[in-house]
Amino acid sequence: MCENVSRRQFLQASALAMAGLGLAGCGNGGTEGGDATEIKVGILGPHTGDNSSYGLACKNGAQLYFDQLNADGGINGKQVTTFVYDDKGDATEAVNAYNSLVQNDGVTAIVGAVLTVPSIAVAKASVADNMPCVTPSATAADVVTFGDNTFRTCVTDPVQGVVMADFAAEQGYKNVATLYKTGDDYNEGVNAAFCEEAEAKGITITSQQSYSDGDVDFNTQLTAIIATNPDAILLPNYYQEDGMIVTQARQQGYDKVFLGVDGWSGIYGGPENYADAADLHDCYYCCAFSVSNETEVSKAFTEDYQEAYGEAPTNFCALGYDAAMTVAAGLTAAEEAGLEAGSEDYKQAVIDGIASATVEGVTGTISYDGTGDPVKSSLILTFAEDGSEKTFDIIEA
């Protein structure tokens, strides 16, 4: 008997839910097009789940820029309204969020997505709409190749690999080993470019070891690497794994150099320290932004961010801020041309505006030379004795 009831109740409840959803769906359809007094911008990234720290950092940075812009009077007298969507780092969610941003909220440009695969999914979906999208941080080469409407503010994996290989050659390292994560486009992209450039510069790659997602024991690979006696080891991954690898390598008695890329940002001094300060001697990595790089723009940004969110900005925060700035540059161009928001001409004007803009961002000067890839400088960072970041060198583009 009681099964009957709950089944019926369940059916009734779900029918009600369906009806409600249907109504809600009808309610928010058809808002495409512009309001005369505001400019709508979408912000997309993983705000929950495994990679939420990157998405939240980008979101905070972008939101900070738009808030500042609004406080200064907005673009062409119009305030920027942001619509924030969580894609959970998942391509399906990203496409749904994108469609909802465009169709339900009627945005005119998007900052996002943050991770590579969702960014690719969004890039593919956005080509048909010619919707301007600027990703702060998707580094895989593919992301901006689907249409002229996608841009990024970070440098690609291969560029970072080349920067670090050049750095290694400059420092006079003769033998370098690499330890990277397979099944990860970021790691593999950096590693391949690094090895190619390093060998071209006369460096011997003594060993290329790899590991898989979820691994925590790197002792076997490290034993094999240390046996080849390298001058430096490249770790082209994010800080969590890099921190474990550095710790385990130091436990095994390796006391020479580690090289890294922008995934290292946050390994020490953030919410968590992923390695002991004592273990972080002789580590160098390239990055777009550091609080230790005391240029005027980056100092001002650091202070503003600290005030707004109560914590020091990371590389991703700065990239989000710059992506917002890039979008704003495009929007300004379209607004100045006096086009109607939401029209095809408007979108094209935003895209053209971004492509021709030179943005003085907190991660350096950003400009585009006909592709969606920026031309910009990189920082080489290292660690002081207490673990704090130090700017070691600035590599111009």
């Binding site: 397979t182 099944g183 969590q240 921190g243 385990q248 919410p271």
Partner: protein
């Protein structure tokens, strides 16, 4: 030669942790025939407790070890009481799905409470490297191997010699008959969960010592591999779990050392499939015929 010895130690360390976790699987499976999916996640709880105690409260490593083991034991018993006990007589499928639900709950709960980013567990000791002859051995590796040996011996003694161990063996043999003999079945099962989870707690401390991080999903792969180890050795058998753990650890080490680390997980799972097809009861397992 040095490299060979170092690699052997690496394999031994990895295998020891798998063995400790596999022991927990084996004990629970042995007594109520339940694949406790949440076992790996209990280790995650232990690692987070270590982090809380040392990094957040700033207490000593000794307190961290004790509290981690205690927390794991408590969580293990609690899971049994809340989620598994009501289903003691339900179909196996239902209990299995519940176990998956518990595992999912712990992982996502940890993610909600502590965030998705890994937390770094501070070093338990200042001693990181031991110099032995010309070899530099990592201290966590040596500690892991030694603790695993002690734990296995103690567990064997407990199961074979103590009165509670006798009760456990009786319950796993035939629950109904054990009850008729005056054994308190429910408290015996709880005790089994407590022992298995305490082992997971020890595993958690060793894990945190060696790999220094706690993350919400750390238990999933570890748990799955340890289950593979338990099945390889013959589920329900204590020496089987240890041997299985070492086999998995060494297999991973060899595959990685050959430069094929990409295929590491595939090799472990393939090993499982081969064993299950050729000898479903594992190396030390007993065949059980199904009653009609």
């Amino acid at each position: 030669m040095d490299m060979f010895l170092s690699q052997m130690l690496n394999g031994l360390q990895l295998g020891s942790i798998y063995a400790l976790v596999a022991l927990g699987y084996t004990m629970v499976y042995g007594i109520i025939l339940l694949l406790n999916f949440a076992h790996g996640d209990i280790i995650m709880v232990g690692a987070y407790v270590s982090w809380l105690v040392m990094a957040q409260l700033g207490l000593s490593p000794v307190v961290a070890v004790l509290l981690s083991v205690a927390a794991c034991t408590l969580v293990g018993v609690l899971i049994d009481k809340v989620a598994y006990a009501p289903l003691r007589n339900a179909p196996r499928l239902s209990i299995l799905i519940t176990a998956i639900g518990v595992s999912y709950f712990l992982e996502n709960g940890a993610q909600l409470v502590f965030g998705a980013d890994a937390k770094r567990v501070p070093a338990f000791t200042d001693l990181q490297t031991i110099q032995l002859g010309g070899l530099s051995l990592s201290f966590p590796a040596v500690a892991t191997v030694l603790v695993t040996i002690v734990a296995t011996v103690a567990l064997t003694l407990l199961v074979q010699k103590s009165k509670l161990g006798k009760a456990m063996r009786a319950v796993s043999e035939d629950m109904g008959a054990a009850r008729l003999m005056g054994i308190n079945v429910n408290s015996t099962i709880s005790f089994t969960f407590a022992v298995g989870s305490a082992l997971a707690g020890i595993g958690a401390v060793l894990y945190a010592m060696a790999y220094t991080q706690a993350s919400p999903t750390m238990g999933m792969m570890l748990g799955t591999k340890a289950f593979v180890a338990a099945v390889l050795g013959g589920i329900g058998s204590i020496p089987g779990a240890v041997v299985g753990g070492l086999i998995v650890g060494f297999a991973e080490m060899v595959v990685t050392a050959l430069g094929l680390s990409v295929w590491k997980d595939a090799v472990v799972f393939l090993l499982l499939i081969i064993v299950l097809v050729v000898r479903p009861t594992g190396i030390f397992g007993r065949t059980m015929s199904e009653k009609v």
